[in-house]
Amino acid sequence: MIKHQVNILPNEVKVDGKALKVKSCGSTMLTDLYREYVGDYPKFFKMDTLSKVGFIASELLLNAEGDRNFEPREDRAVIFFNRNASLQADTHYQSTIQNPENFFPSPAAFVYTLPNIVTGEIAIRNKYFGETSFMVIDDFDEKIIRKNLENAFQDPVTKSIIGGWVDCSDEEHFEADIFLMEND
């Protein structure tokens, strides 16, 4: 059963179908959302775009759920899908090694070249010791995603899932369609 849902596009944000007022768009909008709805988690500024989008979407989702006590828990999973994996971070990292005369690979850039880092960021923020997973399909397909998340409840510890679609092709182009799902 879907309890809450968050949708983010570069110029539009919806929580449970209701539009939030946004004055900016793209990467600036993500920063504005952070300042207005989060504010106390400066690690946000180190994240790649995929992690920022997933993090902001999860914060809005959990604010909608309410009663945020940050108590450690194992019964909530974080499972995302997308199309471009970590393409924005990959392209950025590639630019640091493309030119042999200007070769400066950075560990801070490299760590984000894995799409599942966003699930780890959300687990760290909320002290979720449960399942975290990231999968890629070449086109958004609600049926595939729903079926997969329902399957995840086969783990007897998992009682709820933050799941859905979090995609990003570059710093200004991204999309989140995530929800909080409980086992019924």
Binding site: V111, G120, F134, D138, Q154, D155
Partner: protein, 372 residues
């Protein structure tokens, strides 16, 4: 029950599971030192496939070795690979990432997308289901098997083809070098002098199906679990939290005495191996033999969980606990039963353990003939 029907490994040590097992059992390693390869300024030690023998105008090397691995795994089975009841799950961390290099012109750039890479593979076999790509850092190969178990349990598919692959490139090697995670020599899992990992190329495939009854020689994927450390995106938990919880979940009511061994991640980085020793002790499995296969293949990333599960099944079939190549003196703070010699066993189950960036950890309990 979820049963292994067939498997294959393609690596520098061979292109069948049997060749790979024989090579590892005899102590062979494909780790070599490379200096100046791909224009990288620093030398590195890795286990690399001979790229020339897999050259193909249509398929990248990742795609080619997965196609070969799946084809070989299908030999001798009567699976209708084109059937809508067959699902492909591909496990990879970086896939065709080399295509991002501006000097690469051999293949369409869109194949850098993991889903597009996976579609080349399913198209080759004439299977029209959308392939699922699991990209969960270094634990992907076990996660892909757990996904396969779930899809089969749900009854939607009769067979799931799990294929793990990664092929090394300047992108990956320079990244691990920037992390100072690579050993300048052959890696030394769990050893006092370990100082980092080696990377490796491989593709490995397991085909799973669901059966109500199994015979005593069939391998059953009994339980899998994925848990997060909720601690740090690039370093493991100091108390092995996620690995401990994953191990606890797959062990269930089963006893340490039922396990032939734990095939650990054992990358030979100081932090990973130490963390695993803590997690294994916390869950009460310190008496169980532990091994790592990284000294033969390096860390094969998306392939590792599949490749190491296959070799572990073959080892139990052979009543053998494979030696941890590169290990000499225990260098973790919690006791582990590690050896650099092959040891014999009569037990019929093992746990495959992995952990990765993003704080993720995964464990899988496999038992020959199912759990007693």
């Amino acid at each position: 029950m979820i049963v292994c029907v067939s498997h294959n490994i393609i690596s520098p040590l061979g292109s069948t599971s049997a060749e790979n097992y024989a090579a590892v059992k005899s102590g062979k390693s494909a780790l070599r030192k490379y200096d100046g390869l791909w224009g990288l300024p620093e030398p590195f030690v890795a286990s690399l496939i001979d790229r020339k023998s897999y050259e193909d105008d249509r398929y990248t090397i990742d795609e080619r070795i997965v196609i070969d691995s799946v084809s070989k795994a299908l030999e001798g089975t009567d699976i209708d690979i084109k059937s809508e009841k067959v699902l492909f799950i591909i496990s990879t961390t970086k896939g065709n990432v080399f295509l991002l290099d501006e000097n690469e012109h051999g293949y369409p750039k869109e194949r850098v997308r993991l889903g597009m890479m996976a579609r080349q593979i399913t198209k080759h076999f004439g299977n029209s289901n959308e392939p699922i790509v699991v990209s969960n850092a270094c634990i992907s190969g076990v996660c892909a098997q757990i996904e396969a178990m779930r899809y089969l349990e749900s009854g939607d598919y009769d067979y799931v083809i799990v294929s793990g692959v990664d092929v090394q490139s300047a992108f990956i090697v320079s990244g691990f070098q920037s992390f100072k995670a690579l050993s300048p020599d052959e890696c030394k899992p769990f050893d006092a002098n370990r100082c980092g990992l080696n990377l490796g190329d491989a593709a490995a495939t397991i085909i799973y199906t669901r059966k109500d009854e199994v015979d005593e020689n069939e391998w059953v994927a009994c339980r899998g679990a994925i848990r997060n450390d909720a601690n740090h995106i690039s370093g493991p938990s100091r108390v092995g939290e996620g690995s401990y919880r994953a191990l606890r979940a797959v062990l269930g009511d089963n006893k340490a005495s039922e396990l032939a061994f734990i095939n650990a991640h054992g990358t030979a980085t100081p932090y990973n191996d130490e963390m695993e020793s803590i997690a294994i002790e916390r869950v009460g499995l310190s008496s169980v033999p532990v091994n790592s296969l990284k000294g033969y293949y390096g860390h094969t990333m998306g392939a590792a969980g599949v490749l190491e599960t296959i070799l572990s099944m073959q080892a139990v079939d052979d009543h053998n606990i494979l030696a941890t190549r590169g290990f000499d003196t225990l260098g973790v703070t919690h006791h582990l039963e590690v050896s650099n010699q092959n040891r014999s066993t009569e037990k019929r189950a093992f746990i495959k353990l992995l952990s990765g960036f993003g704080g993720c950890n995964a464990a899988l309990l496999m038992a020959k003939g199912g759990l007693q």
